[in-house]
């Protein structure tokens, strides 16, 4: 059956139209505003001054670096916990059903609530400090600290169940026959994991990593409450530029840079999965 070009376009219209209207158009408007030609704020005519300010001001440059830091580190921490957890959850163990329900709890907790939980538990004089004090123990500084440990804890706590779900799904889709066959041929459990399961689950793992990374890039509430007073992530400077200085040109330039970082990671993801696709003869896609 052949479909006419017009019919095809009509069929595509709802999906493509939605993307253009709610993603493409706002992004295009933001880009135009960042170049001084937008409808938000003062129309200055074409200018690169907002980008120049963003990259020439050391405070904003530190903001970009810090945004990357609080995206990469919580993602790696989440991966380090989620991967073994997802593997463990493939096996049967007593209480698995209850655990499967409980570990997903952070998924329904908003980021700002997660930040308050970490603050109440780990701030100076918080609950953990009070518990440990009679034992003569004390916590390192976890809130407003230079390494942003509190931020990392809160963001990773939110991301681990999400990542585990995606990786668990990828692992579950691998035929068990493969692992069993490898085992009968003498491969250890660890070898099966490294040589068979991990490569086959890699598309799911990279997707999870990508989504967590992108989600953390724009984190606002968590670093605002738990982070050091300097540096601040670009999301906080963006809010300040837009809402306190009414400088939408600078704010949208920051938004475009954050989006560009996310897009760059997306491209790396496609590059990675494309490489895997070729390496495995198209099986993993």
């Amino acid at each position: 059956m052949t479909i006419s070009r017009a019919t095809l376009l009509l069929l595509l219209l709802p999906g493509v139209g939605y993307l253009v209207l709610f993603f493409g158009l706002p992004l295009a408007l933001a880009l135009l505003t960042s170049l001084g030609m937008g409808t938000i704020g003062t129309n200055q005519g074409f200018t690169l001054s907002h980008y120049a300010e963003l990259f020439s001001n050391s405070v904003y440059r530190d903001g970009i670096s810090y945004s990357l830091y609080i995206s990469v580190v919580p993602t790696l921490v989440s991966l380090a916990v989620a991967l073994p957890l997802a593997v463990t959850l493939q096996a049967a163990f007593p209480g698995k059903k209850l655990f499967l329900t409980l570990y997903k709890a952070p998924l329904v907790v908003p980021g700002i609530v997660a930040a308050f939980i970490v603050m109440i538990l780990f701030d100076r004089g918080g609950e953990m400090s009070r518990i440990l004090k009679p034992l003569g123990l004390s916590l390192p500084k976890l809130v407003r600290d230079d390494w942003s440990l509190g931020v990392i804890i809160a963001l990773a706590w939110k991301s681990i169940p999400f990542m585990t779900l995606i990786i668990g799904g990828a692992l579950a889709s691998i035929p068990t026959d493969l692992a069993l066959a490898a085992r009968t041929l003498g491969a250890s459990r660890l070898t099966v994991f490294w040589q068979i399961e991990l490569p086959l689950a890699l598309p799911g793992i990279t997707a999870a990593v990508l989504l967590v990374f992108v989600g953390s890039t724009g984190a606002f509430a968590v670093p605002s409450l738990l982070g050091p007073i300097y540096p601040k992530p670009l999301s906080i400077w963006m809010y300040e530029a837009a809402y306190q200085k009414n400088d939408w040109g600078l704010a949208t330039a920051m938004g475009i840079v954050l989006s560009a970082i996310a897009c760059a990671v997306l491209l790396v993801y496609y590059r990675l999965t494309s490489g895997l696709h070729h390496a495995t003869g198209g099986e993993v896609r």
Binding site: S58, V59, D123, G125, I229, Y230, Y243, Q244, N246
Partner: protein
């Protein structure tokens, strides 16, 4: 009849007629608000007679409250207002102040009427809102019959920005130094900048300074330090409201700020910089700090709600400390102007100004208010001592200087390892 008697009679006649002058728009030949009310003919003498029937006819006034903890206060104020003016109801909304300002700007740019008739707004957003033309150019500093005695700086300046009276100073607050009397008995607290530094060095991490770029008590502390440490020549420009942004940046880049930054460099390793006003107070609650920078009204409110111990007291530095406030304005696109003006007038009245002081520790810009009526023992214990407030409270310096100074603070103090 003696000359003295004649002069007295003339003075009395002038005084009786003084409030009855008509009002002029602020900064323009015409009012920027569309209304059927003849604003140029309105006087304080005709204020209620003209506006009350129109407000009743409109029926509703949409009111935005940007505050985080004034919901109960406004519930009571609105209850009293609606009882005083039957037929006029207040449609109350608690909003995020910065976002509401953007909403008003967007409505104006779209040619739409304002979604709100009266907005109690954050002082830091007055410049943005006024420069975007969303504030009605009504001379609120002179046109409200209930508030003839406003402190003129408070009534015409918001966070160092001169608005010339288009924002009514509904709420005044004061930055202060708080201390926990369980560990710092009254009388032994640090009272000046040198004493604070000495205390911080002797008690590392027991003093919290709010981030000057994030919380008003921090930027107020920075301004107070500037007032205390800048030389006389440098201080000459701190209340020069004609200062341009470039001039403010030049001032902050000059040696004028050096003694302040030198002070902060010494302070930095021994204090905790916090992420906001509440963050500082939370450390008091956790018993982790003994001294911190605060807003007086927040201390009052937090003690009242049991969020910090009653042992926390606030005082002003002997060098003087800056205070400020958040005002209410009527947007240029407001559609219920009569009711908005009546409600504004009520907010500034003796009754409400005293009530909010007793309930929220919110100071007043009214200079002839008999505040002794509101100062019961519980109120007094939660406020800065009145004698200190009367003698040591200072207005905030020019806002552009503060911003430029805060920017230099970030690069030279916070960025430095």
């Amino acid at each position: 009849m003696t000359l003295r008697a004649l002069l007295l009679a003339a003075s009395l006649i002038c005084a009786a007629n003084a409030p009855a002058f008509a009002f002029d728009p602020v900064g323009a030949p015409d009012f920027n608000i569309k209304t059927s009310i003849d604003l140029k003919a309105l006087t304080t003498a005709t204020f209620y007679d003209v506006l009350t029937p129109l407000a009743v006819k409109d029926g509703t006034v949409v009111f935005y409250d940007f505050g985080e903890s004034e919901k109960d206060l406004f519930a009571e104020i609105i209850h009293r207002f609606e009882a005083k003016y039957p037929g006029v109801t207040i449609d109350y909304h608690q909003v995020d102040g910065d976002q509401a300002v953007q909403q008003l700007i967007a409505a104006k740019q779209a040619g739409q009427p304002s979604p709100v008739d009266l907005f109690w707004m954050p002082n830091g957003s007055v410049r943005v809102a006024n420069e975007a033309g969303v504030i009605a150019n009504l001379p609120l500093n002179t046109m409200l019959p209930s508030a003839p005695d406003l402190n003129q700086n408070a009534a015409t300046v918001s966070r160092g920005y001169v608005h010339n009276g288009v924002v009514a100073p509904f709420h005044r607050n004061q930055t202060a130094i708080a201390f926990d009397t369980r560990v710092v008995p009254e009388g032994t607290e640090p009272k000046s900048f040198p004493e604070l530094l000495a205390y911080a060095k002797a008690n590392p991490m027991k003093v919290a300074i709010t981030d000057p770029t994030k919380g008003g008590s921090g930027s107020g502390f920075l301004e107070t330090a500037i007032l205390a440490m800048a030389t006389k020549d440098c201080q000459a420009r701190l209340y020069d409201y004609t200062l341009t942004e470039d001039e403010a940046k030049a001032w902050a880049a000059s040696p004028c700020l050096d003694p302040v930054l030198a002070y902060f460099k010494e302070l930095k390793p021994v204090v905790e910089f916090t992420n906001g006003n509440s963050d500082t107070l939370n450390l008091f609650t956790n018993g982790e700090i003994n001294v911190g920078t605060v807003w007086e009204d927040m201390v009052f409110d937090f003690i009242g709600r049991g969020l910090i111990p009653t042992t926390i007291k606030a005082r002003l530095m002997t060098e003087g400390e800056v205070g400020d406030g958040d005002g209410a304005m009527i947007p240029s696109g407001a559609v219920h102007l009569a009711g908005a003006l009546l409600f504004m007038d009520y907010l500034m009245s003796d009754e409400i100004q005293l009530y909010k002081l007793s309930v929220n520790g919110s100071r007043s810009a009214r200079t002839k208010l008999d505040i002794a009526k509101a100062l019961g023992p519980d109120v007094v214990s939660r406020l800065v001592p009145q004698g200190q407030y009367d003698t040591l409270a200072r207005p905030r310096i020019v806002g552009t200087v503060t911003n430029a100074a805060a920017a230099r603070f970030v690069t030279e103090i916070l960025q430095a390892k």
